[in-house]
Structures are given as C-alpha cells and as structure tokens.
C-alpha cells in the first residue's frame, strides 16, 4: 500500500509557527538538532516563542535573533564547549525568561503531555531550588497509605514539535541511525503539530536494509509533515552521517564576542537561503 504523502517544504513548516507559540525542539545539546528548520525560523518574522528543549545552539540562535520570550530548559550547552554564548548573553541582559527544570522533570512533563494527563508525580525537585524558582509548581499527596508528598510535574504541552532524523519516508516515518534517539518521539507525541526534517527521504522498504526495527523510532502517527534537509543538522552532530563541525561551532561561539562579529556571521550564514548556507559551510 502506498503511504500518505506528507512531504512539505521548510517554508510550510515555518508558516505553521505563529507568534507566541510553544515550540519543542528535538535532539540534545549540540546533537541532531533540526538546524535547517531553525535557520528558516530565524529568517521569519515570528516572535515571542516559548522554546522547550534539551538545549543546544538553536536556543542561543533563537534568543539572539529576538524570537524568544521564554526558554523551558534543564541545560543549554554546546557539549564540546560547555556554555552557550548567545543564550548566556540573552540571560545576562534579562532579555528572556526561563523555566528552570531538572532533566528528568523535563522528561516527565513531555510524557504527561504525550499521555494527555495534567501532571506526573515525582520526587525530583524536592529539596532543591526547583521549587523556589517555579512558584507555580505544586505538590500532591499520595492517596494511598504511604501519604507521600510528591512534585506534580505539569504536562509540557507543545504547539509545535521540530525534530531531525537520519532517514524518513514520505509518510512521515522516521529512522534514527545514531545510538541515542534522545527524546524526539516524546517531543512529537507532546505536540499538536509535528514536523520532522530528515537527512534523506527513502522508500519505506529501505528502512530495514538501513537498520533494525527499533531504529524506526518515529512512526507516522507522530508526524504531520516531513521535509528532506540534507546536512540539515549542521553544525550539530548527526552521527553516523556526520560529526559535529567543531571548527564552525568555534566560529559560531566567536560571533558572540561583539556586535560586529555577530553581524558578519549573520550576513554570511543566516541571512541566506538554506542552499546558500550549505554551500558556505562545505
């Protein structure tokens, strides 16, 4: 049976994202981020976004470009470079609000949204300043004999999820050929509209020639659109297709040093279409 055709363009994805929306971004740190979609978002007029992410350079870029009102995060890091310079600058200027969460609470918030329950209980947060920094975070008392008091981690409901996979088919099934799928499937399941970029769109019967069944991490119930963006996670890593571009990442970090450095970086890499970007970084 032919699978549905859910192929879209980068512009279609960006057009579905409007001011004030909550956008979840897949990957982890500077790894397998949907950077082609993020770059398109940077070129769009959209603003006041709430970004939900195990954060990497996409958070810094979106903050620097003035797209972000709030970041819901447990870390923002470039992995080989611990701290994200543009995110730091935005925070230290008081330009973005944050929701400070533990990594595991973040997982539970996505899981609650995916399961359509209002919260999931956890011990995580108790004793730490997570409670002080999130005054709306409530606790619940176990209704059973133990009576334990737990944190009620609220669902992180997303308007849109953006993820990047190694391979996909036109129906929106996605295959992760790397060793860690991160939380991309949960991001999709937590969102109302789900878009997946892939390195390459293949015929459905190719999947099992490329990897085991468990590598087919995203099924098409989880996606609304798929777009082929070769080298689309650059400069984050997308192993086994390519490693992180460490030299480019250093250039990105240097762009946070001054307004002139940023202007030059933006003119060369960001105020251009995706194919021009790819030609510039080859």
């Amino acid at each position: 049976m032919p699978v549905p055709d859910k192929r879209v363009t980068i512009d279609d994805v960006v057009a579905s994202i409007r001011d004030g929306m909550t956008v979840g971004i897949g990957g982890w740190g500077s790894r397998r981020k949907p950077m082609a979609l993020v770059r398109a978002l940077l070129r769009s007029p959209v603003r006041d976004l709430t970004i939900v992410s195990y954060g990497g350079p996409e958070v810094g870029l979106l903050c620097k470009a003035g797209k972000v009102r709030r970041v819901v995060y447990s870390f923002v890091s470039l992995d080989s470079i611990a701290l994200e310079p543009h995110f730091r600058n935005a925070r230290q200027a008081g330009a973005v609000q944050t929701t400070e969460l533990d990594e595991g609470m973040f997982l539970l918030g996505l899981q609650a949204a995916a399961w359509r329950v209002p919260f999931l209980p956890t011990r995580v947060g108790l004793g730490s300043d997570v409670m002080r920094l999130n005054p709306t975070l409530a606790t619940v008392k176990s209704p059973y004999a133990d009576g334990e008091v737990l944190v009620a981690m609220p669902a992180l409901d997303l308007d849109v999820a953006l993820v990047h996979m190694h391979r996909g088919d036109q129906g929106g099934t996605g295959q992760c050929l790397g060793v860690d799928p991160y939380f991309d499937d949960l991001m999709c399941m937590a969102a109302r509209r789900r878009f997946m970029s892939v390195e390459k769109i293949v015929d459905t019967d190719e999947f099992l020639r490329l990897g085991p069944p468990q590598s087919i991490r995203i099924n098409r119930l989880m996606t609304d659109g798929v777009v082929e963006t070769p080298h689309g996670a650059h400069f984050t890593e997308c192993v086994p297709d390519y490693k992180r571009d460490e030299a480019f990442q250093r250039e990105y970090v240097a762009s946070a040093k001054s307004d002139d450095a940023w202007d030059a970086f933006r003119a060369k890499y960001l105020d251009v279409a995706e194919d021009e970007y790819q030609a510039a970084v080859l």
Binding site: Q97, V124, E148, Y182
Partner: protein, 259 residues
C-alpha cells in the same frame, strides 16, 4: 598506543586515585563520573578494586572493558544499551553513584551550576539545573572541583541544584534515605561529610598542599581534624593503568597541571 609517561606521580594522578576511591565499596552500581579526571578515576576503580562497577562509554552504551579517554572509536565490549531515556530509569532506581562538577559548593554540599545572581537577570548564566536535583536525592553523589578557590567553595550558593545535607535533613525519611553525599575531591584535597552535623570535613591534602593552603582557598569554615593525612599516592599498578590504558594522551594532566 602512545608514549608511556615515566616519573613520579603527578597531582592529576593523585586526583584520579582520590576520584577512584569515591567508588570503593560500591559493588554493582552504575558509576557515572562526569568530566575527564572523574572518568579516569571511575575507570581506574573498575580496573582495579571495584570490578563489578557498571560503566558507560560516556554515551549510550554500557561497556565492560576499560576504555581510554579522548580516543576516537576505541574497541568496546558492549554489555548494555543505556540512552538518556533509560538513564533516568537507573537514576530513579537508586543504583548509581555520580560524580558531578560544580560552579559553587557550600559547607553542606549544596551545589550550583545553573546561574549566579538573580533568576530574571543573572550576572553569570551557567549550564542550568541539569540532572542535579534528581541525582542528589536518588543516588550516591560525589563532587569534583578542578579549581578549588573561594569563588567556588562559597558560604552560600546562588541556586541549589544539587541538594546538600542540611536540606536533605528536612526531607521526608523515605527520600532522605537515598540522599548520600560521599566525597568532594578537588585539585588541592579530599573532603567528606563525616561530622555530626554532616558539614564538609577535610579528609586529606594532596602532596605539596598544606592545610593552610586549603583553608585559604575555601570560603567557609571547613571541619579540620587534628591530624590531616596526605592523599594516598597511586600504586605502580594504578600508574600503569592510568598512563598506559586509561589516559594515554595525558588529558588529565591538562585538567590539573602539575605544580
């Protein structure tokens, strides 16, 4: 593999042994050291006196052989699949001992690497909460401080990410039971919390460091026993493991310079 280093033990190697010692007696726990010297220490413990430790390759695989740090694509004896999603199952099960870093640490072991200053406009934005709130109330936790100074060892942290002993004492007993700060290893010394009020105590000073050096570099009052021993030196077998197998590139020496 690489040039074998000779000479007497370096400060970095003393730190590696002290970090390995954090895991002594752990048996079958996931030893999860974060950072270069903690990783060297963890692998050293598994290679020598704690062979039952379960360890990762630094990413999503559990491996049974002793891997070198900083070497691309070493041969791995894979004995488990542990992506980030699965790591939380391990964390919340309690079967783990983590060594984390910290930008600020206080006398009770409250740790911060999120940000410094007011939450709406920090003077210094750091990493974020990471997994510290959950790690510290579910797992054995030790800390590695590579730059022991009054900027790091502070009277009060800006944000409590990792939960310290004073706060844990106020948690319900079923949660406090799983909270266990084991050691603080720094480039100068080893500390523990073996005092009646569970405050930080100087356990040993590294060779070449005086108690006065540690006191001067610490922004709170450390408990100091009458007799503070020197941190133990690596054995010949440990030196061989570090120099020939675990850290053939000498990355530990870059993290802590030999004085």
């Amino acid at each position: 593999m690489s040039t074998v280093r000779g000479g007497p033990p370096t400060r970095a190697e003393v730190c590696a042994v002290a970090l390995a010692e954090c895991f002594r007696g752990d048996g079958e726990l996931l030893a999860n050291p974060i950072g270069t010297l903690p990783t060297i220490g963890g692998r050293l413990a598994k290679a020598t006196f704690e062979p039952a430790l379960v360890m990762t390759d630094g990413e999503a695989l559990l491996v049974e052989n002793i891997l070198p740090v900083g070497v691309d694509a070493p041969e791995k004896v894979v004995a488990g699949y542990n992506p980030y999603r699965t790591m939380f199952d391990v964390v919340w099960s309690g079967r783990r001992h983590i060594i984390m870093g910290g930008s600020q640490l206080d006398a009770y072991g409250n740790q911060n690497f999120a940000f410094i200053g007011p939450p709406e406009k920090p003077t210094t934005q750091l990493l974020g909460m990471r997994g510290a709130p959950g790690n510290t109330i579910h797992n054995k936790t030790s800390y590695w401080i590579s730059n022991h100074s009054t900027r790091v060892m502070v009277p009060e942290v800006s944000v409590v990410c990792g939960v310290g002993n004073d706060r844990a004492a106020n948690l319900p007993p079923e949660i406090a039971r799983s909270h266990h700060l084991v050691r603080v290893v720094t480039n100068l010394c080893v500390c523990d919390f073996d005092t009646p009020e569970r405050r930080m105590r100087l356990r040993s000073v590294h060779p070449g460091v005086s108690v006065a050096d540690v006191v001067a570099a610490t922004g709170f009052e450390l408990a100091i026993p009458a007799d503070v021993p020197e941190s133990r030196l690596p054995t010949d077998d440990e030196l061989r493991w570090i120099r020939e197998v675990i850290d053939p590139l000498g990355l530990g020496e870059e993290e802590v310079r030999n004085p």
